[in-house]
Symmetry: C2
Subunit: 450 residues, 2 copies
């Protein structure tokens, strides 16, 4: 049950293109709880750093990423080779792949986080009570965050930047597929922490990808203040079973686009193509197209027009019986939907298509099959739009816009640690502010309660 | 495993001074999950009611409370008699006791909640992005709340009022001690819901006080959206073991008052007497007095002055060795502290007293023994005050004011469902806003993401 810490000593290990040793000397192995005790201690130190000190750490990380592009890519190439051998699909390979531009984007994203306003320390005046008590609130870090995530290695860096900026220690447990990339990135982050005279253990990377480690993190009451699991249904089932610490789920995105009777067909086609294909491997990509039956009966053949746009963009349409019949009649390629397709996060150029008779039927379908992540309506009818926006339970509901906009940067929140599908504390993109808590600070002058 | 619902049919049962039947016909028994399915359905209806409709329900509840004072008191008298027989202490009896004034305060508190601004529906503009997307947020109910609580019957009514006002269904599971009072109050609430044409099942009362029922509520994933356990360490241990649904703990208040070297002795005495004795049975009452050693050495005998004020107010001082020696020398009655006293929520006229050599030692004691609930410093030194306010981790930290001010009404938030000791989502008094979630609402005009 002993775990190796990524880097246990403060001596800088030389990063090379060779794989970083997976094993560390036996004396350096420790249990996950021992690791978390180090995180806790680091979190206390981090919370005392000033905003400029935390920003300096981030600048140091960004510079280290830019200075180590070839090393990072060499480690990523190992992950990519293994993933290709294992038959990983193209959309998932895209999530895993790094290139010089993407590494630079990572570095820039760290600099972006540094440039954001400091979420901590801010003393917010809540007013003075009639008895003269002055009430304020002050933002403080949550403490130790644990993030469990899947294939995308940029998550390693983005989470570290957000955690450090918000004064929280971070424990990372990434997916098996990105192990080499994550290991290299975490090492760069930790070395940069040490160089900036910040506690290296403020970011710990758990390089044991067994599920038992996830269960241990989820059960570490008193040591983990918040666990953020990012992933699909099987990870969420683990959370259901093992979570004892506070959890904010970043669950799968079974995102819907409803094309209403009155939808302009060009707009519907553009939004669907964007929602499905602009980056199919991410959680805010569309997975199901609900189409009003009136669109099938449109004299201008709107349904075929939209379907053709999707096919031209390389999308495979998984159709219910009515959609299948209509497209087959229009000689547009499609496949029959399986019952489980309505609950699938394809993360690929596949889209489930269902014909509904009404807005009510669309709302009922989303209530049953959606994951409370993202839903969009394309309509020319403002009343239908308002009803959809009001009644759909999702972290983000959109009128005449692509589901891909459910993103911290796109919504104007700055960087995000992910998209929460939990309603509690944070719902939707979770940024710096959501990684903090507020305490009441009260100034009296001998006040007692009558 | 079958549970009875408090009132299963919509026919109004006549409330009398006789105990309400504990058993209902066998055909009316149902499992806790079946009860929760009813709550879920009721929550959907409740969420569609307008603000004025929800307020009308609250007015109806308040009127019914005022109209049924003698019934409520008769049921409460049964609980009080049983509690006295079982040897319940005076502070706990005070939590349980109702009288005409307290029932009227309950009714008024429901009217107060009705008069608060509607937390729902509010569309908050977040700005328009450079690409023209208009970003808003809308508050929505959480869904089904479950509250597990202890002796105070007013909690039944306050929670119901806050849940209904915020559009949430509520499942109540009160303590054994207040069973008859709670049962009568819940019946009044449910009848008022029905009279106001709102779904009666929006408030369910579980009158099986076995711990298994709590475990079932905590494990009801998909049916309970938020569980709020209010209670002491043994309830929180159950939460640690069984919670699968989102939980916001309203844990015990091990609240500290630190009397610094420079504290004016009159102010220190007044704040300590208020914090300990104004209502000793509640969670924001002080449980430990930390006193700077300089106060013991004060030529004006400040320590004895403050201790005498506490003794005069009926407080038993549980002292560490130094405090015990000093008070004994001053001929002030006290008892030696037991090691477990530093972690005790007395909820009575008992106070643990420890001498510390410095602010650092006080901070370390609170970090180790406090429950992240409330801590106050009495000091004449602004720097010491600021450091205390900054470094203590608690939902409310106070300078020169009683711990009793950590209360929704006192802090200006309006009514509260309790005081959260969880940092996530709500920390400290948890009002209407904290019983809601916000979703992003986005208005586009065919927007796609480049």
């Amino acid at each position: 049950m002993a775990l190796s810490r990524l880097v246990i000593s403060s001596r800088a290990l030389h990063l090379s293109h060779a794989p970083i040793a997976r094993t560390v000397p036996a004396s350096f192995t420790m249990s996950i709880r021992e690791n978390l005790v180090l995180s806790r201690a680091a979190s206390r130190v981090l919370a005392t750093l000033s905003g400029p000190q935390r920003d300096a750490v981030l600048e140091s990380i960004a510079d280290a990423l830019d200075a180590n592009v070839s090393t990072i890519l060499a480690h990523n190439a190992q992950d990519m080779a293994r993933a290709r051998e294992s038959g990983m699909g193209e959309a998932m390979l895209d999530r895993l792949r790094l290139d010089p531009a993407r590494v630079h984007v990572m570095a820039e994203s760290v600099r972006d986080v540094a440039s954001l306003a400091d979420p901590l320390g801010e003393l917010r005046e809540m007013g003075t009570r009639p008895n003269g008590l002055r009430i304020c609130k002050r933002r403080v870090p949550l403490g130790v965050l644990a993030v469990v995530y899947e294939a995308r290695p940029n998550v390693t860096v983005e989470c570290a930047a957000l955690a450090i900026k918000s004064g929280n220690a971070l424990v990372l447990r990434g997916g098996r597929e990105a192990l080499e990339s994550n290991r290299a990135l975490a090492k760069i982050v930790r070395d940069a922490l040490a160089q900036a005279k910040a506690p290296m253990d403020a970011v710990l990377f758990i390089d044991d990808t067994s599920r038992e480690r996830v269960a241990e993190l989820l059960g570490a009451t008193g040591l983990v203040d918040l666990c953020i699991p990012r992933g699909g249904a099987s990870l969420m089932a683990m959370v259901d079973e093992h979570a004892r610490v506070p959890v904010i789920r970043h669950g799968q995105g079974i995102c819907h686009v409803f094309v209403d009777a009155s939808a302009p067909r060009e707009m519907a086609a553009a939004i669907l193509v964007n929602a499905k294909t602009q980056r199919p491997g991410v959680c805010n990509a569309a997975e199901t197209w609900l189409v009003h039956q009136a669109v099938l009966q449109d004299s201008g053949d709107a349904f075929a027009f939209i379907a053709r746009a999707l096919c031209d963009a390389g999308v495979t349409l998984h159709c219910d019986a009515r959609a299948h019949a209509a497209l087959t009649a229009s000689k547009i390629a499609c496949v029959p939907a399986e019952p489980e397709d309505w609950d699938r996060e394809f993360l690929s150029l596949d889209l489930a298509v269902r014909v509904v008779d009404s807005l009510d039927e669309a709302l009922a379908h989303i209530a049953k099959h959606g994951s409370e992540h993202t839903a969009a309506i394309v309509t020319g009818d403002p009343d239908a739009g308002e009803r959809f926006l009001r009644e759909v339970t999702a972290s983000c509901v959109l009128l005449n816009a692509s589901t891909r906009f459910n993103d911290g940067g796109q919504l104007g929140l700055g960087a995000e640690i992910g998209i929460s599908t939990s309603r509690m504390h944070a719902w939707g993109p979770m940024g710096l502010r959501e990684l903090t808590a507020e305490k009441f600070v009260v100034y009296g002058d001998g006040h007692t309660r009558p």
